[in-house]
């Protein structure tokens, strides 16, 4: 009996320890509870200001984020959220404001006659949040780090390779890092040598990989750099606070040391990670957050809500038609028939149902303008439209040419819920409108699709692309004969030479460049290289008080530098 009591004591002790461990976990959660408390107090004060219309609204916004921020290291960052929060806390040479490139750390720049040497004049009043001045050396260090093979950056070689002199050679270890075409002439003069003239270089410098880094600080932190607020320095409009790489809540606060702090009106933004769209909407309805994204199943329910908005995006989705995969797809009439055979209007309205646009070309709408100020899409018009009759006659002609009366094609696509509905729909449209066509669906996870794409092991593939800088080249270079993303056997000499000219002989001549781009895009349509489907958009609920938050065509999704909380209504 006694022995039993001892055991029960031991059990009780274990239970006690266990509970203690649990409450320990609770303590750990306290940092986030601060965020939670803030949310509720701010919400309270928000209501007050709503009642007293004369008082200034508090400059605080509360947002949710779709996931954690995996990296705040400008050289390493690749994901949407890292790029978003680097964008809010950093200033590059230039900055994007509502589709325009405006000065950041650089006040001005000069381009040499041949277009390959860019000399940037930096402002002398820019400071890091630790008090150090932002100098040309910070840019030299950062750009070298991005292509240094020891860094292991993905965007470094991608964004700089072929652009900055020797970037590719440095990355593959063929030449030493100091051979990279960047130089600090003095503290506030930064000189860049390019491989070829790059007319869109200004917009490239707004991207995260091109931000400066404070060498002394980065080297002091070593492997810990950019893993938490304590191991970061900022030079942008906001500072990121209470953050660690695994954090599920954090905040942005106005950076008082920012050179343009006068412009920044917003004092604070709080963030909580929420992945479930329904939960986000519930939080929005309860007033805890100021913006919630809507998945397509929620759009019907909320599209009549006063705060409903559609935010246009610049990603394009299309069908890749692999010309090496089958003799059918090698035939241009068959490819054309496929690209005209499905009803895109119904797809964006019924299936996506989030404001996405029908895509009729190979460069998105509202992305870039021709030198005469016309939208690229408008200038070239609707190149590939839905036309069943024409599709049918092209299809018959094509079948005759290849001497078959029926064709079976494999359709490779993603396996998410929305993707599956879309795939079924597209397969059904193609089969119904093109007699004799059998479509075999192959739905796989994203990673696997990339592998199959790389090996060109598909016939039709549902794919998409988002821009990396503000220039049609970011979309059109995909279909160059040796383009790393071509992977479908498309090759057109005229197309290749038109595009090559835009990066060489015509690089300094915007008019001629755009003429080439427009012509090149027409070739894609004539050859039916890919079949455009839609241009993405996202549906949201946003408080009317959230003002002057710009949506970027590339880089950080939102630009908050000029944002402010306006009076409700």
């Amino acid at each position: 009996m006694k022995l039993k009591k001892v055991w029960f004591l031991a059990l009780a002790l274990m239970l006690g320890l266990f509970l203690a461990a649990c409450s320990g976990g609770d303590d750990g959660g306290d940092t986030s509870s601060e965020g939670g408390d803030d949310t509720s107090t701010e919400e309270g004060s928000g209501e007050e200001t709503g009642e007293e219309e004369t008082s200034e609204p508090e400059q605080v916004m509360n947002f949710i984020n779709g996931d954690t921020i995996p990296s705040m290291d400008a050289s390493m960052v690749t994901d949407e959220y890292g790029i978003q929060f680097l964008g809010a806390t950093m200033d590059g040479l230039y900055r994007l404001k509502d589709g325009e490139v405006v000065p950041g750390i650089a006040t001005d720049h000069e381009v040499s006659e041949d277009g390959t040497t860019w000399t940037f004049t930096l402002r002398e009043d820019a400071k890091w949040s630790n008090g150090d001045p932002v100098t040309a050396h910070d840019f030299v260090y950062s750009w070298q780090r991005a292509v240094n093979p020891d860094t292991g950056s993905e965007y470094g070689p991608y964004m700089m390779g072929g652009v900055i002199k020797n970037a590719t050679a440095v990355n593959s270890g063929d030449v030493p890092v100091k051979e990279l075409g960047v130089k600090a002439v003095d503290n506030y003069t930064f000189e860049v040598t390019l491989e070829n003239p790059v007319p869109y270089f200004e917009s490239l410098t707004t991207f995260a990989t091109y931000y400066p880094l404070n060498k002394k600080f980065v080297e002091e932190q070593g492997d810990k750099y950019a893993t938490s607020t304590d191991t970061l320095v900022f030079n942008g409009p906001y500072t990121l606070d209470n953050w660690e790489s695994t954090s599920s809540s954090w905040e942005l606060n106005k950076n008082a040391d920012y050179w343009d702090a006068e412009t920044v009106k917003l004092e604070k933004m709080t963030y909580e990670v929420v992945k479930d769209p329904q939960t986000a909407v519930d939080l929005y309805e309860s007033g805890e957050i100021d913006r919630a994204g809507l998945s397509s199943d929620l759009v019907d329910q909320y599209s009549t809500h006063d705060d409903y908005r559609v935010v246009p995006e610049t990603a394009l989705f299309y069908l890749k038609l692999n010309q090496t995969g089958s003799d059918a797809l090698a035939n241009v009439n068959i490819r054309k028939a496929i690209s005209k055979a499905f009803d895109k209007e119904a797809l964006v309205n019924e299936i996506l149902n989030n404001g996405s646009l029908v895509s009729t070309g190979f460069v998105p709408k509202d992305f870039v303008q021709t030198p005469s100020g016309e939208d690229f899409r408008e200038a070239n018009g609707d190149l590939v439209t839905h036309d069943v009759e024409e599709a049918k006659s092209l299809w018959e002609k094509g079948l005759e040419e290849i001497g078959k009366d029926s064709v079976t094609l494999e359709f490779l696509a993603g396996d998410s819920e929305t993707a599956k509905t879309m795939n079924e729909y597209l397969a059904n449209q193609l089969q119904t409108n093109l007699p004799g066509l059998t479509v075999e669906l192959k739905q796989v996870p994203f990673e696997q699709r990339l592998d199959l794409d790389t090996n060109m092991d598909y016939q039709i593939q549902f794919a998409g692309w988002g821009p990396d800088y503000l220039d049609p080249y970011t979309f059109l270079n995909l279909w160059l004969t040796d383009g790393g993303n071509n992977k479908m056997g498309f090759s057109n000499e005229k197309y290749d030479s038109l595009l090559e000219e835009t990066a060489t002989t015509l690089a300094q001549d915007p008019e001629a460049r755009y003429a080439n781009f427009l012509e090149a895009e027409k070739i894609l349509a004539e050859q039916a290289a890919v079949a455009p489907i839609y241009q993405s958009a996202s549906a949201q609920l946003v408080r009317p008080s959230v003002q002057d938050v710009y949506v970027n065509a590339f880089g950080p999704t939102y630009e908050y530098k000029w944002a402010s909380v306006g009076a409700e209504e």
């Binding site: 290291d73 070689p157 950019a226 519930d282």
Partner: protein
């Protein structure tokens, strides 16, 4: 007893080693790579990046390095979070899952036992059927349905609790309720069945004959014996609850480990997937050991080894 424990710990180590090996090779068979913009890089560029993570080594070399790291308690560096050790990720995420899991387990089993007890006592009565219906519903309706209903009615409509997020104690209430339905239903069913069996056995009749009070019969003689089988199911259930659940954590935006596990799989973060698999396996075998030891304490009929006593 000590020898027995040592032996079990040795087996545990072997089990974990096998799990580590199997999960390592399974990971290597997965398509795709940990690169995030794979489609934008040439193969040469990809090789340069993979070099940093030691992924260009032959697989046996990678395996030996991995196991060597494991022995030293090093689970590696996450691919998803730059320069963040996997152990940090586990530490950062396990807290909320443990809190919810423990609360759900404790309240769930206690309530379940009560329901089961009431049902057994009023055998074939109204209370019995009510409790059985609750138990059947609890086991058959997935917890995310409850979660959605709770969130909508108690939080959004009646504003009694926070809608989601994590921080204060109030934030734990709704997810705990959603989680505890299942353990509650299971325990209720077990308790009821066992109680009925125990109450019908000879020693209860003897106790009654000796004049033990009804209270004493139910709690001291009945319940204690009826709970023994329940211990068997509670162990694995505890592990399941405390290692987090994707759906509940996602619906209530709880920064837990279950949700992290799924994210890691989606982004092909090998070190984190393997680290979490091992961690879960470790919890599982450890709890099973504890349960086996508990048996000895609760039930004098069970002996670990023949000769001893």
């Amino acid at each position: 007893m000590l020898r027995y424990i040592l032996k079990r710990v040795f087996y545990m180590a072997i089990t974990l080693f096998i799990i580590a090996t199997v999960s390592f090779f399974l990971m290597k068979m997965l398509p795709g790579s940990p690169l995030s913009v794979e489609n934008k890089l040439s193969e040469a560029q990809q090789t340069i990046v993979l070099e940093k993570y030691g992924l260009n080594d032959p697989i046996p070399v990678q395996y030996v390095k991995y196991i060597a790291g494991l022995v030293q308690g090093d689970l590696g560096i996450s691919f998803q979070f730059d320069n963040t050790p996997v152990t940090d990720i586990i530490m950062a995420r396990i807290g909320p899952s443990m809190v919810l899991g423990a609360q759900a387990l404790v309240f769930g089993t206690v309530l379940g036992i009560l329901f089961g007890l009431v049902a057994a006592i009023s055998h074939n009565g109204v209370l019995d059927y009510t409790s059985t219906i609750i138990a059947v519903l609890g086991t058959s309706i997935p917890s995310f349905i409850f979660a959605g209903l709770l969130q909508w009615y108690l939080a959004v409509k009646f504003e009694m609790f926070p809608v989601a997020l994590w921080g204060t104690y109030e934030h734990t209430i709704l997810p705990t309720i959603a989680l505890l339905i299942f353990p509650m239903a299971i325990s209720a069913r077990f308790t009821r069945t066992e109680m009925l069996e125990v109450l019908g056995s000879d020693f209860i009749t003897t106790a009654r004959a000796k004049g033990v009070t009804e209270f004493g019969i139910i709690f001291k003689h009945g319940l204690r014996n009826a709970l023994i089988p329940l211990v068997t199911v509670v162990g694995p259930m505890a592990v399941g609850l405390m290692t987090g659940t994707l759906v509940i954590e996602q619906i209530f935006a709880v920064p837990g480990i279950g949700e992290q596990f799924v994210t890691s799989v989606m982004v092909v973060d090998y070190p984190t997937i393997m680290g979490l698999t091992l961690f879960f396996a470790f919890l599982f075998v450890a709890i099973i050991l504890v349960i086996d030891l508990l048996y000895v304490l609760i039930d004098p009929r069970i002996r670990l080894t023949g000769g001893e006593s």
